[in-house]
Symmetry: C2
């Protein structure tokens, strides 16, 4: 039967229909925020819009930008202030009358890459998505790790320093505060304000800094070296703890390629306490791009139903 | 049938026989190191010594001080220099003609505490053993996490700082280098050498420092506050990643009680980025003491056979 998958992102709402053979039948996307209409209502409209007229829908499965409790509540979500401990599962279920599955978007992206992308065939995989923030997903012996309350796999929120810059979550020294796109831009801004030479002018983002780095701007290069160092440092700890076969890096910042991967690999090689952790490891970019979350929602539905 | 369990420690070799109902039939212990006899030979002698004359042994299951490869080789073990990539599983199997199961001692202690001790009934548990070093074991959705090459759950070897003191593994800034018994003693030694006032004289160990702290020695108290801080900091990251229901602290240093647990809990409460991580968490000392590894070996045998 048909599965209706949703990816609820901070900028876009995406919906897709998959048939019983996991073939994509149709997809739609709309902006998450608009002048009128709350996000919940916009999601209802999108689902109604893509709902198939002739085939029954077996379930709705959604990737959500925030942790989900076992009861299907969203504790909070960036860019969606109307969701504070919000019962999204119940709301969708009541409105559409089919089972609803929800999971954290980074967790589902991990599941998607594991089943259809970079992690196919392995039993232990770590997924990091590096964009505005840093999210994570963990496949542990063939199972998605969620923790006892659905709050696990927050790989951006591990301390790599006792103090250090404040993370978006308010804590000091988290990986996300050193290596997310936001952190890369904040560091360049700070260095520029302190008088460091750079060709970068005006407002800054991680993509613009990557372009400047490719043109040889030393401050921009250093910004990616620094982010790569902290990612490599945190990853050394993750390898000691999980000993995965595959590590997948997704998200916009990971598309900076060698700028990030070279210092990351160098740090990792230096900071592992046994070379054996690297012997069978594959460290690679994600293969599914923006579709990882939607495909992960499909995998979740197939696993649960 | 009878299971012969071994706990191969740095100072003691222990063996125990359990019957089909998991009742302890007999146990023996001898020192690991002696003037004559290599450790492997001493283990053979101990096993032969406790081998039951009337009941068949179904398997030998052993807790080993070091990581085990999937092929049953010990990469290296503290205090046992003769083991460098040593095929212990094969050696025992050849000598005694029964199946042999091996696992890391901290992993098995976790399994023991989960089945028979502090973690009974939960699906997600984290175990830290704090003594000379810091070891770990992780029960993830009811399964022992070992990683793809048996090198996982090294919870002492996560970086909590970019630089910092060298760990026993050679890397800077690992949790073990801040919060193990060795690290606590090294820090007090360093502070004393730098002229800090303390009643502590002569050689130092974590137990003696705990006693001095209880008598009010300020440097000794500070040493445990510092260790508790770093444990709490690292644990905040572990909770964000694993979201366990139970955290169990074992090993000699954990027996210092409030000296360690008070600063640890205070740091944890401060450094978690959502209070929800604490809502259902139980943080407690191990209940099985020295028997955790042996009982874990029994659990492993029951799971695998």
């Amino acid at each position: 039967m048909t599965i209706l998958c949703l990816d609820i992102g901070g900028t876009q709402l995406r919906a897709a229909l998959f048939d019983r053979n996991d073939r994509l039948l149709q997809q739609k996307r709309i902006p998450t925020l608009a002048h009128e209409g709350r996000v919940t209502q916009r999601i209802f409209d999108l689902v109604a819009d893509i709902w198939p007229s002739h085939a029954p829908v077996e379930a709705i499965s959604a990737a959500v930008p925030g942790p989900i409790t076992p009861a299907g509540r969203i504790l909070s979500a960036p860019n969606v202030p109307e969701w504070q401990d919000f019962p999204l599962q119940e709301s969708l279920q009541k409105r559409f009358g089919v089972p609803v599955l929800l999971a954290n978007d980074a967790n589902l992206a991990a599941l998607g890459e594991w089943q259809y992308g970079a992690g196919q065939g392995c039993r232990n995989m770590l997924y990091l998505t590096i964009s505005t923030g840093i999210g994570g997903g963990i496949i542990c012996d063939g199972q998605l790790l969620t923790g006892s309350e659905g709050l696990g796999a927050e790989l951006g929120h591990v301390p790599v320093s006792t103090e250090g810059p404040r993370c978006s979550c308010g804590q000091p020294g988290h990986l996300e505060a050193y290596a997310s796109g936001t952190a890369i831009a904040a560091w360049v801004r700070e260095q520029r304000a302190a008088g460091r030479a750079t060709a970068l002018t005006g407002p800054l983002d991680a993509r613009g800094i990557a372009e400047a780095a490719r043109r040889g701007d030393p401050l921009a290069r250093e910004a990616y070296e620094r982010a790569g160092f902290y990612l490599g440092l945190a990853l050394s700890g993750f390898l000691h703890v999980f000993n995965p076969r595959v590590v997948v890096l997704g998200g916009g910042v990971s598309q900076s390629g060698d700028l990030l991967f070279v210092p990351l690999r160098a740090t990792l090689a230096q900071r592992l306490f046994r070379p054996a952790y690297l012997h069978t490891l594959r460290l690679m970019p994600g293969q599914l791009g923006d579709n990882a979350g939607l495909l992960g929602a499909l995998v979740l539905a197939r696993q649960r139903l």
